[in-house]
């Protein structure tokens, strides 16, 4: 469960202070599927980064699974990231010199899982995402869709509670984009929270709960009605 309570994030751009997030409160229950839409600079990515613990809010609280993450130090936040959060990026962010297998293996290596267990888990992941015949390929030998699948496999290898996807289809053609979204939705069905930032209304409208943001504020939350304030 995720609870954001009056989160503020301010950036200094030159002489101007930009409120990337302005008093944002949000509650996300287990297994929800949320899309966040909004124009560029509306604070979507900042919100995602704060939920992903890559960024710290200047004000407010963020509670993830009953833990107030704003109290955690860097090392502890890294551990929360490692075990509870999976990132999927627009530009995939695969390590170019490593093969598909090694890229997926990375979080397991960071955790210090035994090589035998690593091998088994990566093998299962490769099969789950239809990459079994691509295991020894490097990112530049893979298509965009395949790269994003490797990235998703890597994001989910630690069995996280939340998947944060920042424009996961932004760099893909329609077919592979759709494929990727379907994979993410399938993961969501298994009970993982899926938060998807997108520009594409077609994708945005697939979710049950749609959040639209403008100027660092949540303008509209389709499920907001159900929460009694």
């Amino acid at each position: 469960m995720i609870r954001l309570d009056s989160i503020e994030r301010v950036f200094q751009v030159g002489n101007e202070t930009v409120h990337a997030l302005n008093n944002v409160s949000l509650k996300i229950s287990q297994g929800e599927y949320i899309t966040i839409m909004g124009p560029s600079g509306s604070g979507k990515s900042t919100l995602l980064n704060i939920i992903g613990l890559l960024d710290r809010p200047d004000k407010g609280f963020y509670i993830l699974d009953d833990v107030n993450t704003t109290d955690l130090n860097d090392e502890q936040q890294a551990l929360v990231r490692r075990h509870k959060i999976g990132f999927v990026f627009q530009f995939f962010h695969l390590v170019p010199r490593l093969t598909a297998t090694e890229n997926i293996e990375l979080p397991l290596i960071l955790t210090g899982v035994e090589p035998d267990e690593r091998k088994d888990r990566v093998k299962i992941a490769l099969e789950d995402f239809g990459l079994a015949d691509r295991s020894k390929h490097r990112p530049n030998q893979l298509s965009g869709g395949q790269r994003q699948r490797v990235a998703i496999a890597r994001a989910t290898i630690m069995e996280p509670r939340v998947i944060l996807a920042d424009e996961p289809t932004g760099n893909l053609d329609r077919t592979s984009g759709k494929e990727v979204i379907e994979i993410l939705e399938k993961l969501n069905k298994k009970g993982i929270i899926l938060i998807l930032v997108t520009h594409d209304p077609d994708i945005g409208n697939r979710a049950v709960r749609k959040i639209s943001m403008v100027d660092g504020k949540i303008l509209d939350d389709t499920l907001a009605l159900e929460f009694s304030k």
């Binding site: 860097d74 890294a78 990231r81 960071l110």
Partner: protein, 401 residues
């Protein structure tokens, strides 16, 4: 994160950027190789000098007339001309148990001629014992016989060069040569030997000390060479010499004693300083290699900014990232050091081939120091880039493509 995985990851990262890796390896290899080779050269020079010195003779003490030190006190009323060392002084030294053998030495220069050929040669007046004390060797005939040093026999031993110039290829044994206004019978020829105690031993003629004294019309000696009975006996021999001469010279300490050890240790100190200087110069090249490592690692950090951001997003802690980059620079410097050692060993082997007389040898401390310092440079100069990597803001790092 397991140590083995850190290692594997760092090695993969090094091999992933070949040009950069080769650059670092070359820098480190040159640094380490120069430290090892230069210190080996220094060590070789030291060994060379020591071996040259010990060829002078072992446990050697040299007695010179005159004082080299003052003791203070009022100036002597009468002029303090030092007493000469005489042959009797020399013979008197023989009584001490700390002294094995002695050999008096008179030096002068006189024309030496045979038939029509004549040339000016340094004449050493000495005794049979100098043969042993100075480790001389003969190429032909015999050295001066062991007789009473007070007896002036008309015998001489020629240096190699003198023999060649006077006799060319003929055998000089038994021939009579004229030295000054006297005639001496040649008993032997010295074997070739380099400089020793400032004399080119191939360009001298050795005659009995008493003959030399009468030839040059003097009663004094140039030096007395003393061989102590053992290395431990050197200080005792020194005391014995001082005491004997003092007794014979009316209580005056008017001689100077040089021990070979003193000369050797002075040279040893000089050469050690030299070796250290050379090693210091070489260490600078290691430092340069270290700075290069730092630069290249900094480039690596900015090259891999997104990668660092990514592994942070995947849950890598700061210390993990720090360890990854440190491991990388250490692996690079160790590999470089290893290559450097290979270069150094082949280089030294080659030098030993080219200059077989020069006792060049790789000293283990130089190897240990070079490898240790390279490890340290890898570590020290790796810290800054690694810290920079660890401190990267993941959001900004990831916003780059």
């Amino acid at each position: 994160m397991k140590a083995k995985d850190i290692l594997k990851f760092s090695i993969r990262a090094s091999t992933g950027y070949k040009f950069r890796t080769i650059l670092i390896l070359i820098a480190m290899a040159i640094g380490v190789a120069s430290v090892v080779v230069l210190t080996s050269l220094g060590e070789g020079a030291r060994r060379y000098v020591i071996s040259q010195f010990s060829s002078l003779g072992t446990n050697l003490l040299i007695v010179l007339p005159g004082r080299s030190e003052t003791t203070g006190g009022p100036p002597p009323l009468l002029g303090a001309t030092p007493r000469d060392l005489t042959l009797d002084d020399a013979i008197a030294l023989n009584r001490s148990s700390a002294i094995r053998i002695i050999s008096p030495l008179t030096v002068g220069s006189a024309p030496v001629s045979w038939k029509q050929l004549e040339r000016e040669v340094i004449i050493l007046g000495s005794t049979h014992e100098i043969y042993e004390i100075r480790h001389l060797s003969m190429s032909l005939g015999k050295f001066l016989p062991s007789i009473d040093p007070r007896r002036g026999e008309a015998l001489c031993v020629l240096g190699n060069k003198v023999k060649k110039e006077l006799f060319t290829n003929q055998s000089p044994l038994g021939e009579w040569v004229r030295i000054g206004d006297r005639r001496f019978r040649v008993t032997g020829i010295l074997a070739k030997k380099g400089q020793s105690l400032g004399f080119d031993m191939s360009d001298v003629v050795i005659i009995p000390v008493a003959s030399a004294q009468s030839l040059f019309n003097t009663a004094s000696l140039f030096r007395i060479l003393v061989q102590a009975s053992s290395r431990e006996a050197i200080p005792r021999a020194r005391e014995a010499i001082l005491k004997t001469i003092r007794e014979r010279h009316d209580g005056e300490d008017d001689i100077t004693i040089i021990t070979q050890d003193a000369i050797l240790s002075t040279f040893d100190r000089i050469l050690n300083a030299l070796t250290l200087t050379v090693a210091g110069i070489a260490a600078i090249s290691l430092a340069v290699a270290g700075i290069l490592i730092m630069n290249v690692m900094l480039i690596a950090v900015s090259q891999r900014t997104t990668e660092i951001g990514l592994i942070k997003a995947l849950g890598a802690t700061r210390s993990q990232i720090m360890r990854l980059f440190l491991a990388e620079s250490i692996i690079l410097s160790i590999t470089g050091a290893f290559l450097g050692l290979i270069i150094a060993f082949t280089g030294v082997l080659l030098l030993a081939r080219i200059f077989p007389d020069f006792p060049i040898l790789i000293s283990s401390w130089a190897v240990a120091a070079a490898v240790g310092v390279s490890l340290l440079t890898g570590l020290v100069f790796g810290v800054f880039p690694a810290r920079r990597a660890a401190k990267l803001d993941p959001v900004q790092a990831l916003s780059r493509r």
